[in-house]
């Protein structure tokens, strides 16, 4: 017998001795209120700004211009995006202003860690209750773009807003099959490990800009 069989054997023997009756968890009422749809946008924005993120409202026609201005103000020189429609539109529009490209091959770690100022991603959904962006990674959306560059920019169409994680999952929001890496992002990276003092930019992004596209 190997370890696996011995561990499983012991667990099964215990269950045989003391059968454990358990109720189906989802039948237990939580009494935890979901925010009303009318509150979603405000709550989402409030939660994200509480967590030190910048939420910029924009529209389909002007989001690139709005972002371009913000990037210029922040003096961003190198930006990389996933190969999404929005990313390609961004690259097409800003190519003259800065070093801006979509990632199409394996990223060099040195470039990633030392050269790229900002990563651009598109969110699959927004969760109002916690101020959260759901980011689905894959060939079109590298995992590291929302992690390594100091500035993390995420575009979210307001129509993708949901009450919260629980509602999103139970209402079938999860991609099928699951991507190799699904992410919930709710602010720039942070730590309070020194004397409970909050500091942003622990290991990942120091800043998070959320472009909330209100008419999409």
């Amino acid at each position: 017998m190997n370890s696996r069989e011995r561990i499983l054997g012991r667990l099964r023997a215990s269950l045989n001795e003391q059968p454990a009756a358990a109720v189906a968890p989802l039948s237990v009422a939580t009494h935890w209120p979901d925010p009303a749809p009318a509150e979603w946008l405000a709550l989402f924005k409030q939660n994200l700004s509480d967590n030190h993120a910048e939420v910029i409202e924009c529209r389909q026609q002007d989001w690139i211009a709005v972002l371009a201005q913000r990037l210029a103000e922040k003096n961003i020189r190198v930006l990389r995006s996933g190969r999404t429609d929005a990313g390609e539109a961004l690259v097409a529009a800003l190519g003259a202003q800065l070093d801006c490209d979509c990632v199409t091959e394996t990223l060099s770690k040195d470039d990633l860690f030392t050269q790229i100022d900002a990563g651009f991603s598109v969110a699959l959904a927004g969760l109002a209750e916690t101020g959260t962006l759901v980011v689905n990674t894959g060939p079109q959306e590298p995992r590291t773009l929302s992690l390594v560059p100091p500035l993390n920019i995420v575009l979210l169409p307001a129509s993708a807003m949901q009450a919260g994680f629980s509602a999103w999952v139970t209402q079938g929001g999860l991609p099928q099959p699951l991507p190799t890496n699904l992410l919930l992002i709710s602010g720039p990276s942070k730590t309070a490990d020194i004397q409970q003092t909050l500091a942003y930019g622990a290991h990942g992004p120091k800043e998070l800009i959320v472009l909330l596209m209100t008419d999409a």
């Binding site: 012991r10 215990s14 590291t144 919930l184 709710s186 730590t191 490990d193 409970q196």
Partner: protein, 517 residues
């Protein structure tokens, strides 16, 4: 090197030696040392007050909190009720997703398995995300002896490792250090990527910035990342990690090899069980509605993907858990989601801090887990360090009856039936009965006799009230010294309530047929 730097390094070395010496002491000695350390008392009191207030603020509604805890408890109990089946499902789905699954019965086996994976990939440098189970199995020490550099990357864990200490809290590992201590530690021991000393600063943002620069360099070059797991979803074959700093994502994303390590109890059946556990975890732990990142890993990098680890492994660790699973009363120990709320709310922890427990897991959950993993012989003393005030049980997001479990472990420790720790087949806690002493058991036998026979009891209280002056004597004071060292000596009354009630004509018996009017 400047004279100041030489002095600082000596001081840090001395602190580390003091820490090592303290860890060799008996529980009571460690507790006393902690109680006498003003800076430490201040750190823990402040942290406890801060974290309790934060938690309260994100649970404004009692009914909603109660309902959420009901759900959390139900999810954990349901998962445990199907544990062997869920582990097999998890293994099947992880494997289908390309994640390799390993099983380890003991801490040694887990370390050997992890080392084997690293060795077969020629990995010499490892960055670690925060993981209590790897602390439990003492992985760093094991890998160090095999010549593998293992760097902690959670800010708190990094500081603790830099100091040569162990975490004092499961969520905030360096909670015992104030910022001045961290400033000295960083300046005296941390080195930048080019090998120079980190300039002194006690500004928290700058200290974090310095550590960030050092650790980002390590992430970039590490051969492998080792992380823990907060929840493993059986139906989808997904490993979930909760974090704020981004080091967890770095660890699991940047190196080409990722090894996740988890206790076998962390599995849940379905993804629909995840959101409530997540919200309970972050709200209970640090008073956050959600953590900055929730990282759900369902496979290594695919061919058409541009980043991510090429290999992902999961090591399932038993290390005593299947034994806990067999105990009829102590089984809820395994419901734990490692939020740390019990220690944040524990008045004993607030005063002695995490290191006094001398174990990986401190506070109430530590008092319950540690003796069951390490045996009562070695860790049985900590179960008496609880006033059974119930604050931990009240805070526990998955309703583990912690005070009941601590009491049960006292019964196990004092059981008249001794169980050899070396007997792995026994379902009892290792070292059952090992704390039973002749003296103490005789005291309780005498106590039981005196309270079982009402006439004898009345005689005793009569004697006590009539000899009350003896209580004020020096001899009595000495006998009662654990009490009287810091309190006045309690004086019995002149007559007992039994006597007063009898004298006042209060009936001793129900004489008439009873019933409500």
């Amino acid at each position: 090197m400047t004279a100041e730097m030489i002095e600082l390094r000596q001081a840090l070395d001395e602190e580390q030696q003091e820490f090592a010496a303290m860890q060799q002491q008996h529980f009571k000695v460690r507790a006393k040392m902690a109680l006498e350390n003003e800076a430490l008392r201040h750190s823990f009191r402040g942290a406890s007050d801060f974290l309790m207030a934060k938690r309260r603020a994100v649970f404004p509604d009692e009914t909603a909190l109660s309902g959420l805890r009901d759900r959390g408890e139900a999810i954990r109990q349901y998962s445990l009720s199907k544990l062997p089946e869920l582990l097999e499902t998890l293994e099947k789905n992880l494997t289908a997703n390309g994640i390799q699954v390993h099983w380890a019965e003991t801490a040694e086996e887990a370390c050997a398995v992890i080392h084997g994976i690293l060795a077969s990939n020629n990995a010499r440098t490892v960055v670690k995300g925060k993981s209590m189970v790897t602390e439990e199995i003492e992985l760093n020490h094991y890998l160090q002896e095999k010549g593998i550099e293992c760097l902690e990357s959670d800010m708190g864990e990094y500081l603790v490792q830099l100091a040569g200490e162990t975490p004092s809290h499961i969520i905030m590992p360096a909670i015992h250090k104030n910022k001045e201590q961290v400033a000295n530690l960083m300046h005296g021991r941390a080195q930048t990527s080019d090998g120079s000393d980190v300039p002194y600063t006690d500004d928290v943002d700058q200290m974090i910035g310095n550590a960030r620069a050092i650790l980002r360099d390590k992430f970039r070059h590490a051969d492998a990342g080792i992380s823990g797991v907060n929840m493993a979803v059986a139906n989808t074959g997904t490993l979930c990690l909760v974090e704020n700093e981004g080091n967890g994502r770095m660890t699991t994303t940047v190196p080409k090899l990722h090894i996740a390590v988890t206790g076998i109890e962390k599995v849940v059946e379905d993804f629909s069980h995840v959101p409530e556990l997540l919200t309970l975890l972050t709200r209970s732990a640090t008073g956050q509605k959600i953590s900055t990142y929730f990282n759900m890993i369902s496979g290594p990098k695919k061919n058409d993907e541009h980043d991510g680890p090429e290999q992902v492994h999961l090591v399932l660790v038993d290390n005593g858990r299947s034994r806990i699973f067999a105990h009829p009363v102590l089984k809820p120990t395994l419901q734990c989601i490692r939020c740390g709320a019990c220690m944040n709310h524990c008045p004993v922890y607030a005063r002695i801090g995490g290191h006094a427990y001398g174990s990986t897991y401190p506070g109430p959950i530590g008092q319950v887990v540690t003796p069951q993993i390490g045996g009562l012989e070695q860790y049985g003393d900590m179960v008496s360090a609880c006033s059974l005030n119930g604050a931990c049980g009240e805070a526990c997001p998955v309703r583990i009856p912690l005070p009941d479990l601590i009491r049960e472990l006292r019964a196990e420790a004092n059981s008249p039936q001794f169980v050899n720790a070396a007997d792995p087949a026994a379902a009892a806690v290792q070292g059952r009965g090992s704390k039973r002493t002749l003296g103490e058991s005789l005291i309780w036998k005498g106590w039981a006799l005196g309270h079982r026979l009402p006439a004898l009891y009345r005689l005793m209280t009569w004697g006590m009230t009539r000899s009350r002056r003896l209580f004020a004597s020096a001899a009595a004071k000495k006998l009662l010294s654990p009490w009287t060292d810091s309190r006045s000596t309690p004086l019995p009354a002149t007559q007992s309530l039994h006597e007063l009630a009898k004298a006042a004509g209060v009936a001793s018996d129900v004489s008439r047929p009873q019933g409500e009017q």
